[in-house]
């Protein structure tokens, strides 16, 4: 979609002379947009996103999540079509409606076809339930409904596109805000339950699922007001106007507030949320670890789960009281052993394979991860590791009475938080040291790095072992969080998740790891109803990242510079020519 528009826009400008030509092209684009929208709509229906999300209400009694997907599609298609359509406002609106009609027509076609043929043999979601959503429960008789519905939505979307700038932004923001608040409704409501007044507010704004109608109205008003008044940018401008000294004194309380918020966060929002936050923190910690191996030294290690497993099983074996427990140690005595074992394991696996470069290293480490996974669940080690049933009833790190606030996942959250801060500290110190520079040099050019006296094996092995150690720590805490280690927890997705966190967050960037974990671990964990489509969204998010933000969400300074167009070499500078040639 975007590629087409980007290539077409300059053409249009060039073809200013032949107006009918460019007009025809614009209409063609509108048609294409409508058809693409239709295909996306079919996709949403046939992979089951629309029917699966349908039971979940966004605004109670008004609109479900499945319908939201379709409405969003119609509005987006209309909006985009209106910006492409030629001529004045009427044409733009007509274009938007036309694109909507095309999108809807494909959906109508699905309903009609579905009544004649049994499409379920191909796509199990081509069911009457799906058609009922598309046709407001009319079934085949309402096959015309999607077309009309999408035409109206397209026109509405086009109308939004024609609004003046500020208003347009306000409308878009309020729609997005509605969806976000609706999705997070139960989360926001939980802390409100603590006292009767806030509970009453909560009941007014939120239904059992999603927002209430008044809640939706309040949300829209709040977002629009925010957009129009822009308090955030005002505060920022105010801050920028302050003298340096004052600003610095303000950062300290802001920092303290931030820390208090992070500490309070899982406590206020309930046990499930605490579990999610603890998991996110665990991944942050492991992300920091892999950031050394992958982000700094550039070693694409996809066998991270192997060391995670070593840490997890070590703690399980050393602390569990049951049949597999071998030592009955306390958690705290077991963790250092787990870290050291994981590190030794890293050395053991790393030594033979660190001579392998780039992609091949990824495959080799992937293989190791799989070997460990198979071993963990195998009959061979069943007597030792418990096979698929694993080692259960691992004691919590801190034994507290069951009614204490530390009884749940919260204590792991706090422990993981402290560990993550320590790991981040270690990572930053190393990054700024001789060792960190050697890692980056190896990432940049291994041969040259070695010719400058850097021992490749030693240096790479250190990166690998440190990554392994932090993976082991992650595994140990994971056992503390789950209270058990079962072989199905040891899977490839642990490795892939951690690697994806770093790629999405930004290679080598410490804040990037935090943001990446929240996006890739926290959000999917929160929306369990999406679990079927977790990896679909994952894939879409990764592709979008690679296209629009190849450096990650919060790229490190080096990555930022990498992507920055060099400006020091002037185009007119004669010496620039051989430089470019030499580097190419």
């Amino acid at each position: 979609m975007t590629a087409a528009t980007m290539s077409a826009t300059p053409e249009e400008a060039e073809d200013g002379l032949s107006a009918p030509d460019s007009r025809a092209r614009s209409w063609r684009q509108v048609i294409r947009l409508g058809l693409i929208g239709g295909v996306v709509g079919l996709f949403l229906c046939l992979v089951g996103i629309v029917p699966t999300f349908d039971p979940r209400a966004l605004v109670a009694g008004l609109i479900s999540l499945g319908e939201t997907a379709l409405v969003g599609l119609g509005l987006t298609v209309g909006y985009l079509a209106a910006t492409r359509a030629p001529g004045g406002q009427p044409q733009a609106l007509a274009g938007a409606a036309l694109a909507g009609v095309l999108t809807g027509a494909l959906l109508s076609l699905l309903v009609v076809l579905g009544s004649v043929l049994d499409l379920r043999a191909v796509a199990i979601f081509a069911s009457p339930a799906t058609y009922a959503i598309l046709t407001f429960k009319l079934g085949t008789a309402g096959a015309w409904i999607p077309t009309v519905e999408m035409a109206i939505l397209g026109a509405l979307g086009g109308g939004v596109a024609l609004l003046p700038g500020r208003l347009r932004r306000a409308v878009i923001a309020s729609l997005v805000g509605l969806v976000v608040i609706g999705l997070f409704a139960s989360l926001i409501r939980t802390p409100l339950r603590t006292n009767p007044v806030s509970d009453a507010i909560g009941r007014f704004l939120f239904a059992q699922e999603g927002l209430t109608l008044p809640g939706a109205v309040v949300t829209v008003i709040a977002v629009v007001a925010w957009q129009l008044l822009r308090p955030a940018s005002r505060v920022r401008r105010r801050l920028a106007a302050l003298p340096e000294q004052r600003r610095r004194t303000l950062t300290v309380p802001a920092l303290i507030l931030g820390i208090l918020f992070v500490l309070w966060l899982p406590q206020g929002v309930g046990n499930f949320f605490a579990f999610v936050v603890a998991t996110v923190t665990l991944y942050v910690l492991m992300g920091f670890g892999l950031n050394i191996t992958l982000g700094l030294a550039g070693l694409l290690d996809l066998g991270f789960v192997a060391f995670f497993a070593v840490g997890a099983y070590t703690v399980g074996l050393l602390t569990a009281p049951g049949e597999f427990g071998i030592a009955h140690w306390s958690f705290w005595a077991a963790v250092p052993v787990a870290i050291i074992l994981a590190m030794l394991f890293g050395a053991f696996l790393g030594l033979p394979i660190l001579g392998i470069r780039g992609d091949y290293l990824a495959i080799a480490t992937l293989g190791f991860g799989e070997i460990i996974r198979q071993l963990a669940g195998s009959d061979l080690l069943k007597g030792l590791l418990g096979g698929p049933r694993g080692i259960t009833s691992v004691p919590k790190p801190i034994e507290v009475p069951p009614d204490s606030f530390l009884a749940g996942p919260l204590q792991i959250y706090y422990i993981a938080l402290v560990c993550a801060v320590i790991v981040a500290f270690i990572a930053i110190r190393l990054r700024d040291s001789r060792i960190g520079r050697a890692w980056v040099a190896i990432r940049e050019d291994e041969d040259v790095a070695e010719a400058l006296g850097i021992n490749l094996v030693q240096t790479k092995l250190l990166a690998y072992m440190l990554g392994a150690a932090f993976a082991g720590l992650g595994g140990a805490l994971f056992v503390g969080l789950q209270g058990a280690i079962i072989s199905s927890s040891i899977n490839l997705f642990v490795s892939i998740n951690v690697a994806a966190i770093i790629i999405v967050g930004g290679m080598g960037s410490i804040p990037g790891v935090v943001v990446g974990s929240i996006f890739l671990i926290g959000i999917p964990e929160l929306f369990r109803e999406f679990s079927e489509y977790r990896f679909l969204f994952y894939g879409v998010a990764l592709m979008a990242m690679m296209i629009y933000r190849p450096g990650g969400l919060l790229p490190s300074t080096i990555a930022k510079r990498e992507l920055h167009v060099p400006d020091a070499v002037e185009p007119g500078d004669p010496s620039a020519v051989p430089a470019a040639a030499v580097q190419a």
Binding site: A438, A449, L452, G453, A576, A581
Partner: protein, 281 residues
């Protein structure tokens, strides 16, 4: 030891499959000398460099540096003995700053362990500070003061060349191998680079071996020139002798005019200054 040669190569042979890139080469380099290796494209000059620096393992023969055999050593071990190098195609760490490049260059002279770095020992901090001072001193030495935070790939070409030399200097080498240090430079820049290289020897006492195509540079700077063709040494001696050696002229102009119908891309000795340097070699 001052009188014994720094580098002695005997019968060095390097084959790539059926191709003999360097054939039974004997070569000596005196302490504190500035010497050049020249020859037409594909003569085996860079291969010979790569053999000394440990990028290639030699198939036959022996190379000693300061009396010690280096043919079985890894690149990092060779670097630690005191051999630094630059590359025909600049190979800076493009996504590191000039400063960081120079800090990596000092790697082998720094001693901080990873645990020391994590704890932030006083000795590690002092060492880091000295390393930064040294890097700034090197930046000044190559005229890049104040440009330390510039990304290496964003520096102008000539500065990149000099930065690469400085990165090699940061390791405090006794022998510096410069692979076409003036490639792609105009005559004025070539002159500056020649002066710079001479200063390295005169002020820092570094022995220098270079591969060079620009004849004016070669003739102006070298105390000894070794000419390679097809992996074999065809002449050796001071510039005056090399300039008039018939075999050298033949190697550069082509053997007779019968076997080579296309005009040779190899620059003739006289024309070499003006012509852009051919790549490869």
């Amino acid at each position: 030891m001052a009188d014994s040669p720094l580098v002695v190569a005997q019968g060095v042979t390097k084959r790539f499959g059926g191709l003999i890139a360097v054939n039974k080469l004997d070569f000596t380099l005196e302490q504190g000398a500035i010497a050049s290796v020249i020859g037409p494209n594909g003569a085996g000059k860079t291969t010979f460099f790569n053999c000394i620096a440990g990028f290639y393992k030699i198939d036959d023969g022996e190379i000693t540096f300061d009396g010690q055999s280096i043919k079985a050593l890894r690149r990092d071990q060779i670097s630690r003995l005191g051999i630094g190098r630059t590359y025909q195609n600049i190979r800076l760490f493009a996504n590191m700053t000039a400063m960081e490049n120079l800090l990596v260059g000092q790697h082998q002279n720094l001693h901080a362990s990873w645990i020391g770095a994590v704890i932030g020992l006083g000795s590690v901090r002092r060492e880091e500070k000295l390393a930064h001072d040294e890097a700034r001193r090197l930046l000044r030495y190559i005229g890049l003061q104040g440009r330390g935070d510039t990304l290496a790939s964003n520096l102008p070409y000539g500065d990149q060349r000099r930065l690469e030399v400085a990165r090699a200097l940061a390791a405090k080498p006794r022998l510096l191998l410069l692979d076409e240090p003036t490639a792609g430079m105009n005559p004025a820049e070539q002159g500056q680079m020649t002066d710079f290289v001479r200063r390295l020897r005169d002020e820092l006492g570094i022995t220098i071996l270079l591969i060079e195509h620009a004849m004016r540079v070669v003739m102006g700077i070298s105390e000894k020139i070794t000419v390679l063709d097809h992996g074999e040494k065809i002449a050796e001696g001071p510039p005056e002798v090399i300039q008039s050696d018939p075999r050298v002229i033949e190697a550069y102009l082509g053997r007779g005019s019968t076997s080579d119908p296309a005009p040779s891309p190899r620059p003739a000795l006289a024309a070499a200054d003006a012509a852009p340097p051919p790549s490869g070699g």
